[in-house]
Symmetry: C2
Subunit: 330 residues, 2 copies
DNA sequence: GTCGGAAATGTTTGCGTAAACATGTGTGCC
DNA sequence: GGCACACATGTTTACGCAAACATTTCCGAC
């Protein structure tokens, strides 16, 4: 900066004024400074700026991994909206979901230059970790039941699951089976709970729950366990539903003629499954947007209270569901 | 830091020494300082550190989006390995692939506190943009033909495509059709070129190329165009292959009995397609790892020359390919 | 012409850290 | 006992920037 000032024949303060587009610099001077900047290839040093302002214009994101479609789409939306607000994103992935790893990630984040943190992680691992964050750092949590302690943004999992199960009941199926995600996952539990509640409210029998780990492969294995009596199944995500379709296909059971299948997420591929999957649409981009919004609000206006902001879902009916035809196999 | 020093009854310099684990501090003093740090919840300010050192310990990543499986897995690997080396990741997504957007991303990145940049973007958009980066910032490029000007890390696209096409020819198919990715994509072009070359070398006719945009939906549309004479098709990625499977299924053509299909990427879901997809396995994690390695090498040892580092691929044979049976439909 | 005041520009200062240099403190050796 | 030297700790300074305050310049009104 000093070099630019010297070359332009002005003080460094004037350079600073030009760099920040402040008023009070006469046109001719501004021109000269800009020319000098170009000539020397001057870039403002963001570290010095941060030091001066006490702000970093950076948001941290802590998550388990980008491998799930939901996470990666949420992160993408976060990055996009943060960029639009002049913020950069710093990513810290946590390897295995252990207390130690999570704590380590928060500690690292605490040492990093971030103004706020978005946490995409199960809450039970979170409690021990947040104290590792410095006091000034704000937090928004995605996809967990931390609503009593932190601001939370989440998809309306329960309502989505309700829509799925009701759709199947309305088609006449006597009851609906469920293949859930991993027990540690809060979304998985909420979807399972909503499924159970709808069945109970409708006075239908509640079949035993199948389990997967969100992967198509695990859905395939769980699908093989589905008994012949099953005519309708609500699967906790689209990828497991893909596995279920394969399992049913291998067993010679036709979808949707013999068995109706509903997924959750509405990933891009779901419309190309065999048959195209009826599923619950989840608006990941909106979740990401609201996270950034809530966090920036906190940063500028001070900590908002806890509470949960739910993004609505809706059912997308495609070819994998059909009316009940009175029996399992024809 | 001054507060800690006061509380511990030492100078700030001693605090600094303790914070950085430097020698020359007697045990009792160190204890006192550590205690004071804990009491005050002291955190070193990374902005000041960066200012002092001229290093940020941050790597930038510029990409189009996280929606493709490949990108998100590569980014995940980059983040993981960078974290292991004590570096954080700053993400800048580029919306639409226009010259302006790319330039904007590079400009923003130039103003950000990064020591190096990993670019996951088509090269023809890259040329106009890199000058926007400050001189001291190192660059590694993924998935492009920039090998003559930048260090490039990439999957061995050509070899993967060759393996796919040869596999189909070895099964006895007279020739192999191809559904390519978008023409702007360099990987798409390389896969298409390798496909054409193998056919020409084998003296087989080269059918017209189908086109998609990587999405399952576009694969479906391209799949509907496949003529009855087609008995083998190499699709440029797994998701489009999923669409092709659906198109063939709708037309009553069985896979692999009537038509053999090979994909590219080996995404997690591919083994659960109907039928499980034969595809070219791509090691995204390794690509990410090598990127970080190359970039850190540059940062510590000065700019390495251009050149391309190819990560090998291998064919995974599953259920979507079968020997040629002498005719298109039985 | 002189004076007031607004606008343009310059100077000083401090953000938190750590290197470089300066000072103190004790130890062992002759 | 005095001296040198190693080691622990303190003081000064600079990193790049911009707010706060200081100075200069120029204009119009009287």
């Amino acid at each position: 900066m000093a070099d630019v000032a010297k070359l332009a024949g002005v003080s460094s303060q004037t350079v600073s004024r030009v760099a920040n587009g402040q008023a009070g610099v006469v046109e001719s001077t501004r021109e000269q400074v800009l020319a000098a900047m170009r000539e020397l290839g001057y870039r403002p040093n963001s570290a010095a700026r941060s030091l001066r302002y006490g702000r970093f214009n950076t948001l941290g994101v802590i998550l388990f991994g980008l491998s799930s479609t939901g996470n990666s789409r949420t992160v993408e939306a976060i990055a996009t909206h943060a960029a639009a607000e002049g913020y950069a994103i710093t990513l810290i992935p946590v390897g295995a979901p252990t207390q130690d790893n999570v704590l380590g990630a928060f500690t690292r984040m605490g040492e990093l230059a971030v103004d706020g943190v978005i946490v995409i992680i199960e809450v039970h691992l979170l409690d021990a970790a947040t104290p590792a964050l410095p006091p000034g750092v704000h937090v928004v949590v995605v996809d967990s039941d931390a609503g009593e302690r932190y601001p939370v943004v989440d998809t309306d999992q329960a309502d989505g699951a309700r829509q799925a199960v009701r759709h199947l009941l309305e088609l006449g199926h006597p009851t609906v089976w469920h293949i859930a995600g991993p027990a540690e996952s809060y979304s998985a539990e909420r979807r399972a709970l909503a499924w159970r509640t709808v069945l109970e409210e409708a006075g239908r029998p509640v079949p035993p729950v199948g389990r997967g780990d969100w992967s198509a492969e695990s859905g395939y294995r769980a699908g093989l366990e589905l008994p012949p009596a099953c005519t309708a199944v609500f699967v906790a995500n689209d990828q497991m539903a893909l596995g279920v379709l394969r399992a049913l296909n291998e067993q010679g059971r036709r979808v949707p003629a013999d068995v109706s299948v509903v997924g959750f997420d509405d990933i891009a591929d779901a419309s190309s499954y065999l048959p195209p999957l009826t599923t619950v649409h989840q608006d990941f981009a909106e979740v990401g947007r609201r996270c950034v919004e809530a966090l920036l609000e906190q940063i500028s206006a001070g900590p908002g209270g806890p509470g949960t902001d739910l993004v609505p879902t809706h059912l997308v009916v495609r070819g994998s569901t059909a009316p009940y035809r009175g029996g399992a196999a024809p």
